[in-house]
Symmetry: C2
Subunit: 534 residues, 2 copies
């Protein structure tokens, strides 16, 4: 396929009908890389959507085990990517090799998690209420329910995870698992990476005989709007900025037939330090927290952007230790020049505010991100100042010293929704923190005790979501197996002959899955014409 | 509480600070009923929202069994409503006594269904991934997830179910079950009914010691906007018109912090007749379908508004039988004069269209709804004419005769999303209808074979939802136990000491519920500090 380098993926066909040429850049030098990418034309976008719509009924009706085969094959293809590929990712993103390899493994494991989920079958959420023909005053008919894909999904990947939140990332994996064809809008920050991954996905699709249109990928700036507004698109997954996520949500809501959007957008991930923990291990916490702030050049949605503690000599000592630690950090190259420019702009806004002080900055170097620690008064947060609530994407964090626990609570109540909230404390004070934890649980999708929010485990129990503006819908997650729920809808089959029911709903339970039958979870088969009283 | 007749319910306090007086009307005479209702003031709306926000953390943290107690008590209170109450409902809605009593029983059973669900505990959707401290390269921490209420919910009830889709209806029941306080906007069509039911709910809340603010009810026209836009409201449930649902969805999306809306809005519920069924039992189907069209004066969201069959002598004979049946129906009083006016307007639009013919009309009587049968050419639907896709709320239906199965498929593909789609056929032709069923399953939330869409069973397997414009989000339902999902969000607890976890997540599984532990569904307890390899 190398002849088609830079072409869009309109299903299985490479296409370059447009004349807008895009270039990826070397993240270290900001110089253009040699490959050229062709911005998708309106016709190409429409064709990808139509192909996805044609593929949907076929793909959606495939057995879950066939879709699992596809996902596992994608995982195999990702695992087969070579060092050349990792070098290319590094060129485009400046991420280090270990991180890239780790992220690639995470991405293939994520595909396998969804394959396992498909085999397990609980995503169907089968509910069966059998008939009661002699019920009075009216007979009860046989009613069965399972969940199926919503239809073709448009996915917008993130800059900061060129693999795990991108072409073959969690949104793509969960949508494909749900039976939904995916049209992926390649991120302009890593188009070469995206192309290689798309080729891997399509190779897996071919090897497992998936229908043409099950996956497409388009390049370009501004092509997202036509995609989101296309009548064949039935849901959107997005990871990125608040402004980008809001724009896409607005587009989706203003369609003649509005569709759901799950946008993961903005979080400052508060970390709350309790007094006893500060008394016993403040230097250790300071070191660990500084590492979390600067990990991956701070380019994580879960980067701890706000540190809150009650005023005390111990908290002051903790702050001075964090100050020292941040000062000693190395400046590093960010994902791209745009990320660096945005980071600088965000930090400047803090620096220009008369009530915000800079406590620490790491060494500065041209074209690299300096790590910063700032301090702001609690009153500024309590007065509703939005500056302290804006995510600064990069290695910066703000300390807030509160007078007492009442002011701490007030600060938390003044905050917008978050992906994570963290409480650091000793056993005794934690046991006294039930109300505080309750506030954090209402604030965030994930609450951590004695940990750091960076590092998002891909597993069944993960929630990478949270109230607005963390995401556009607090009922979803973009990481972990629950992510599939965003792209499924329940369908009710009333009075169907057994042979016409999906396998998940058939009397003899051919998939052997756990089902809710007349209010009881069971793997048992259902006797034909069984009349079960509820 | 009779002294406070017509006052708003601001939590447990009756309040009438406004000076806009509203009157309910006798549905038969359109004359004002004696009671006066006080439109809620902005302050009263705000107070109800603030009370709900204060009640939320308490109510949300209550054990599920305590909330079940509350729901069961509401059911008891509803069951205790007397004939005086039924007379009042009849005055306000013109529904007949049997229907009102049936609906009241359905409403209390619905409360009990959610109480059962709370006891069953699967709504928590517990997922636990235990720690693997020695995992390389990084240890795996303990991560647990369950679902909790999203926060206070605003509910807008329907005119056509003054009990089952109203004050104590499915949206209220599912929101309360989820741990969400409810603020109910009373429907102007049955304010006296609403008041009595609200008193029943608050009596149950008092008897089961629920927090003040767990339920409020406001009266008024135009008070919905302030409610939907109030920052303390976290989700909306709505049943009503397309224009109303869209307006509320737009308000919710334009908030500084957008919130999810589940609006059940508009459906014409196509019924498709296959040739063999017409050959063998066309008169029986005609009679049953005519009954379904006119049941409850056609005032059901699931009323069959479109009848499609392939042109044949048998289909012609079927049409003439339906024509006869509809002609013989009695005209009946609708819910209110507004409903009748809208129905007449909808029918006039059809009658004024040059390509639409009226086949039958029942006897006409002043201030009553005439039943109608119309016929429209398939080309009109295929040309994208919106008139045929608009729900006409009342006892009218449109027949479309198609040339062949290909045109039938084209018609279905041209249709908007539906609550239901029905296929009537004999065994052999049904077995040949796999593709047709697949189209219907993508079109609607519920697909029926050899049944009629009116009559919505309240059970675990029901879906009363569907793609837009049937609802605003095809992933939800407003009838059946799955309705609770709309008001729950997942929360992830990372590295929590066992004592601080919700009971649903504790090691020893005190609720005895089925949980997903390291990828396996089990009721087993988790050994403390268990290190389980996945």
């Amino acid at each position: 396929m190398s002849d088609y380098s830079g072409y869009n993926f309109v299903g299985n066909t490479r296409s370059a009908n447009g004349n807008v040429i895009l270039k990826s850049r070397n993240a270290f030098t900001n110089l253009e890389l040699p490959s050229s990418f062709y911005q998708a034309t309106n016709d190409e976008i429409d064709s990808a959507c139509q192909l996805a719509a044609s593929a949907f009924p076929i793909f959606n009706k495939l057995s879950a085990s066939r879709r699992a085969e596809f996902l596992n094959k994608i995982a195999d293809e990702l695992d087969g990517l070579s060092n050349d590929f990792f070098d290319l990712v590094r060129q485009e993103t400046a991420l280090d090799e270990a991180r890239i390899k780790g992220e690639c493994g995470r991405t293939s494991n994520q595909m396998r998690l969804f394959a396992d989920l498909l085999i397990r079958g609980d995503f169907y959420d089968v509910r069966i209420d059998t008939a009661i023909p002699d019920r009075s005053p009216v007979p009860k008919v046989d009613i069965r329910q399972c969940r199926m894909g919503v239809g073709p999904v448009a996915v917008f990947g993130a800059s900061n995870f060129p693999l795990a939140f991108s072409t073959a990332g969690g949104d793509t994996a969960s949508a494909l698992a749900a039976g939904c064809p995916v049209i992926f809008k390649a991120h302009s920050g890593h188009m070469e990476t995206a192309e290689k991954v798309a080729i891997a996905i399509l190779r897996a699709a071919e090897q497992t005989s998936m229908p043409d249109g099950v996956f497409s990928m388009i390049f370009g700036a501004g092509v997202g709007e036509r995609l989101v507004k296309h009548s064949d698109i039935k849901a959107v997954g997005f990871t990125g900025s608040l402004s980008g996520g809001k724009a896409i949500s607005d587009m989706a809501a203003s369609r003649p037939n509005p569709i759901p959007v799950f946008a993961e957008m903005s979080s400052i991930n508060p970390v709350i330090l309790l007094p006893q923990a500060l008394a016993t291990r403040r230097h250790k916490i300071a070191t660990e927290l500084s590492d979390s702030i600067t990990l991956g050049v701070g380019q994580f949605c879960t980067n701890p952007g706000l540190i809150i503690g009650v005023s005390s000599p111990q908290f002051s000592d903790f702050i001075s230790k964090v100050t020292d630690e941040i000062s000693l950090k190395q400046s590093k190259t960010m994902l791209n020049s745009g990320a660096l420019a945005n980071y600088k702009k965000g930090c400047e806004k803090l620096e220009n505010h008369p009530q915000i002080n800079m406590l620490a900055s790491s060494e500065s170097a041209d074209n690299k991100a300096t790590a910063y620690l700032y301090q702001a008064p609690a009153d500024l947060l309590l007065s509703g100042n939005e500056l302290l609530q804006e995510e600064i994407f990069g290695p910066a964090s703000i300390v807030i010293e509160v007078n007492d626990m009442a002011q701490l609570t007030a600060c938390l109540n003044a905050m917008h929704g978050q992906l994570t909230a963290t409480l650091i404390g000793e056993e005794e004070e934690l046991n006294d923190s039930v109300e505080l934890l309750s506030i954090l649980e209402n604030l965030a999708g994930r609450v951590l005790i004695n940990g750091y929010p960076t590092g998002v485990e891909v597993c069944d129990a993960m929630v990478h979501g949270g109230p607005f503006p963390a995401t556009s819908d607090s009922r979803g997650t973009s990481v972990g197996s629950l992510a599939i729920d965003r792209f499924l809808r329940p369908i009710c089959f009333q009075n169907y002959p057994d042979s016409l029911l999906p396998d998940a709903l058939k009397n003899n339970n051919p998939l052997g899955i756990l089902r809710l039958v007349n209010g009881v979870k069971t793997t048992s088969l259902i006797q034909n014409n069984l009349k079960v009283a509820r």
